[in-house]
């Protein structure tokens, strides 16, 4: 029970990462009174990411200083509905953010838009290949929104974040040097591409020689000076090699701080509280609207009721779903019956890679950015004959290193011992002599990949942890094996001295220990049917019309790209509906 009730606000925002910052800025511009509640600490470039203290691999990359602390918040994991789920006791597979800026502080900045077919995947598969090819249990769904509808909002996010890249398709016209397979975009990227590292040039040459179409990976690492829509400045990246898992010391990596929050903090009608974890969204007696949220104010040790007219759930995909489940907004999904919507269609990202070692090439791997590099999209969703290949999905293929930090980024040839004289000899011989081609691919949702409340484990507030049920499936393993064959062809053409591949194979089990990606999606998915989606195509809860849910929890299955470009685009898309349609007349929009 709340011990304090604070004065009512027009809008309360749960979580101050990318989506919270975007919503805060745009609705503050509408003149609304806004309060953002963030469970973690305040964070600014100075002093939190400043030189040289941020260049500490142990503290930030290995001990996860900027990330969620499982002692405060975690979930449980199991492979299937028959297994007992156990807590994710320390971080490994994914690294949710914590504190102002969220995971937007310590992301890489690889910023993509989904392909046009990905938004209507079920329709595309049925129209092109027939519904028969959809494997038993795979819950393919359309997003309820199209690439054309989202285009201006994707452009807006790229303009705010300041993305460096080369367009491949401007209004239907293919552009030399860009990605010819991307959905049409209305304009060139805000900045030219980053400088390439030598390894990615070698990959691009090899790919070009095989008839593929290499292009620079779109990056939220600034290539030039830039001032964005909110008057915020980015300075050119200095290729420091301490990007992902770290905050940028140089105002170069697009983060909520650098692109939005410092301007947002100056708005008189915006305020935020840190160390304020939202415990529950409170519902009105009729259950059709929310009245506000209850949060734990760590500074005073009180539970506080914060009344608000509009509740924006911006807590990161996993926490969004957890909050909806705890607040009983939307019917919880039941994998046995396939009924219910909250927790439905959790999915992840299927990645793999081939590393190569070259005795006589020096790559200076510490010269790196989080997002630079070259990619090909020749094996992307729109380019693959699913019927012929026997899987649904696709992948972008990419090369470019993010740093040469020796604890975590030491790459040694196959057969090297894990310790002893042989290991020591190898680190001296091979450090900086390798490159790696990665496959970053889609992952489909299935009837039993889902999120619900754990029956056993509780968090520090006594609330049930959320339970994740997830494992790799044949379709997705076939997809990654297909990529392995393509990548190994490219790799062999580069004549390395040694080569090693790592892809999921038959029977691979989801393993929470190695880092895979913080691209957890689904669980509060968007759609046009309230029976199969938790939020409508404007990201508005079907059940409580003044609750809107941002973030990758909206994706019905995972795209083949990193999620944040689409997460940002969807936020601006939702804002348009909010501003034009909802605020003048609050109601269910569908």
């Amino acid at each position: 029970m709340a011990t304090r009730t604070d004065p009512k606000k027009d809008v309360v925002i749960i979580g101050l990462g990318w989506t919270g910052a975007i919503m805060g800025m745009e609705l503050a511009n509408e003149g609304l009174e806004i309060l953002a509640l963030e469970r973690g600490d305040d964070r600014s470039t100075v002093p939190d990411f400043q030189y040289p203290n941020i260049f500490d691999e142990l503290k930030y990359a290995v001990r996860y200083d900027l990330m969620q602390k499982p002692v405060n918040s975690t979930l449980t994991v199991r492979h299937n509905t028959a297994e007992t789920a156990l807590p994710y006791r320390h971080l490994g597979s994914f690294l949710p953010g914590d504190g102002v800026g969220g995971a937007g502080v310590h992301w890489n900045g690889q910023n993509w838009r989904p392909q046009a077919v990905e938004y209507r995947l079920r329709s595309y598969v049925e129209e092109t290949f027939g519904a028969d090819i959809i494997p038993e249990g795979m819950q393919l769904q359309d997003w309820g929104v199209t690439a054309e509808e989202l285009e201006p909002h994707m452009t807006k996010f790229e303009s705010v974040a300041g993305i460096a890249g080369k367009a491949g398709n401007i209004n239907g016209e293919i552009q030399e040097g860009g990605n010819p397979f991307e959905a049409p975009r209305s304009a060139e990227y805000p900045m030219p591409p980053l400088k390439n590292t030598w390894d990615s040039e070698l990959f691009a040459d090899a790919a070009r020689n095989m008839g593929y179409h290499p292009f620079p990976r779109p990056a939220a690492n600034a290539s030039i000076q830039y001032v964005n829509d909110y008057g915020m400045q980015l300075g050119p990246c200095n290729y420091c090699g301490y990007c992902e898992r770290f905050g940028c010391n140089n105002y170069s990596k697009s983060s909520p701080q650098v692109c939005i929050i410092d301007a947002l903090k100056r708005k008189p009608n915006f305020s935020y509280r840190t160390r304020s974890e939202v415990l529950k969204i409170e519902k009105a007696a009729d259950g059709k609207t929310a009245t506000g949220v209850t949060y734990f104010d760590e500074k005073t040790g009180e539970e506080v009721f914060q009344p608000a007219d509009l509740v924006l759930v911006c807590a990161y995909s996993l926490h969004n779903v957890h909050l909806l489940l705890l607040s009983e907004i939307g019917e919880p999904y039941n994998p046995d019956t396939g009924e219910g919507v909250v927790g439905r269609n959790y999915s992840y990202q299927m990645t793999g890679g081939t590393s190569m070692w070259f005795r006589d090439k020096v790559f200076n791997p510490f010269v790196g950015t989080g997002a630079g590099g070259m990619s090909i999209d020749d094996f992307s969703m729109s380019q693959i004959d699913f019927g012929k290949e026997g899987f649904i999905g696709g992948s972008y293929i990419t090369c470019g290193h993010t740093g040469g930090r020796p604890i975590q980024q030491m790459s040694l040839p196959p057969g090297t011992p894990a310790w002893g004289a042989g290991w020591k000899e190898a680190v001296g011989e091979w450090y900086g002599h390798s490159l790696s081609i990665g496959s970053h691919g889609s992952n489909m949702a299935y009837r039993d990949t889902c999120l619900d409340l754990d029956p056993t484990y509780k968090d520090r507030h006594g609330r049930p942890l959320m339970r994740m049920t997830f494992d790799w499936k044949d379709n997705d393993i076939r997809m990654t094996q297909f990529m392995k064959a393509r990548i190994e062809e490219i790799a062999k053409s580069m004549n390395p001295d040694a080569m090693a591949s790592g892809y999921k194979g038959d029977g691979a089990q989801y393993d929470v220990r190695p880092y895979q990606s913080t691209h957890n999606v689904g669980g509060a998915i968007m759609g046009t049917d309230p029976k199969t989606s938790a939020i409508n195509r404007y990201l508005q809860s079907w059940d409580c019309h003044n609750v809107w849910v941002m973030g990758a929890s909206a994706f019905p299955q995972n795209i083949q790209y990193n999620p944040t470009g689409a997460v940002g685009g969807l936020a601006y898309w939702a804002l348009e509906a909010l501003r034009k349609d909802y605020l003048p007349n609050p109601r269910p929009l569908m």
Binding site: E57, V71, H79, Y239, C240, I407, W419, V512
Partner: protein, 235 residues
């Protein structure tokens, strides 16, 4: 640092390039002004914060096999890695301060579900070392630190393979020991290991320099500058 075949040595590169000369002399000037650093105490006189005498003897010996001295590059002992591990175990890592440590526990669970022990890393070291020492005594007739190097390697291999009879709640011991040893070898020297940045010098990692604007895209060009630490020290 190995020199590339057919390329000037690191020293030669510094001498031979104008930028190298400027930076080399600047480094010299800074060094001239800097007060002589006091050498840290020898490892046998180091004041431990976590390990007891017996544990210290084991960890010293184990680190020395995991990253031996001799041959190219420094060993874990040269880099004072045991100091790093001792400090880590007395801090947040050793205490599992950030981890979710509420029960029920199922330490024998499928390893893909991750760490499931009720014990903290510091407790795991404390409880696992005597079990392993007993095994060494039974199998090889003496404590680990008193065995021949080749026998020590064989014993560590058995530990790595899970053949020494550790209870499930201790099963991550070898992984922690190996990971912590490598961390201490390569982390910033402020944590007590990587003494004098020797491991960074050895592999050619420049530490906390973090500004390489003119470097991307250079083909086969070896970066010329040695490492700096977070506190500004250079090697």
């Amino acid at each position: 640092m190995r020199d590339m075949p057919g390329r000037p040595s690191r020293r030669g590169f510094l001498k031979g390039s104008a930028a190298g000369v400027a930076i080399a002399s600047l480094a010299g000037a800074v060094k001239a002004q800097a007060p002589e650093k006091e050498a840290p105490p020898p490892l046998d006189q180091y004041e431990r914060v976590y390990f007891n005498e017996a544990e210290w003897a084991f960890v010293m010996a184990a680190c020395d096999r995991l990253i031996p001295s001799g041959g190219n590059g420094p060993g874990a002992i040269d880099c004072r890695v045991p100091v790093f591990i001792d400090r880590q175990l007395s801090g947040n890592f050793g205490k599992a301060a950030d981890w979710y440590m509420q029960g029920p526990f199922d330490p024998a669970a499928n390893p893909t579900l991750g760490f499931q022990s009720p014990l903290t890393p510091a407790e795991i070291y404390r409880q696992a070392i005597p079990v392993f020492q007993d095994w060494c005594n039974q199998t090889h007739g003496d404590n680990f630190e008193n065995l021949e190097a080749a026998t020590q390697d064989a014993a560590l291999t058995s530990l790595q393979k899970g053949e020494v009879g550790l209870a499930p709640e201790l099963r991550d011991f070898f992984q922690f020991l190996l990971a912590n040893t490598k961390e201490g070898y390569f982390a910033d020297p402020s944590y007590g290991g990587n003494h004098d940045m020797q491991a960074w010098v050895y592999i050619g990692f420049p530490g906390a320099r973090g500004a390489f604007t003119s470097w991307p895209g250079r083909e086969n060009a070896q970066y010329p500058l040695g490492p700096v630490a977070i506190n500004g020290d250079r090697a």
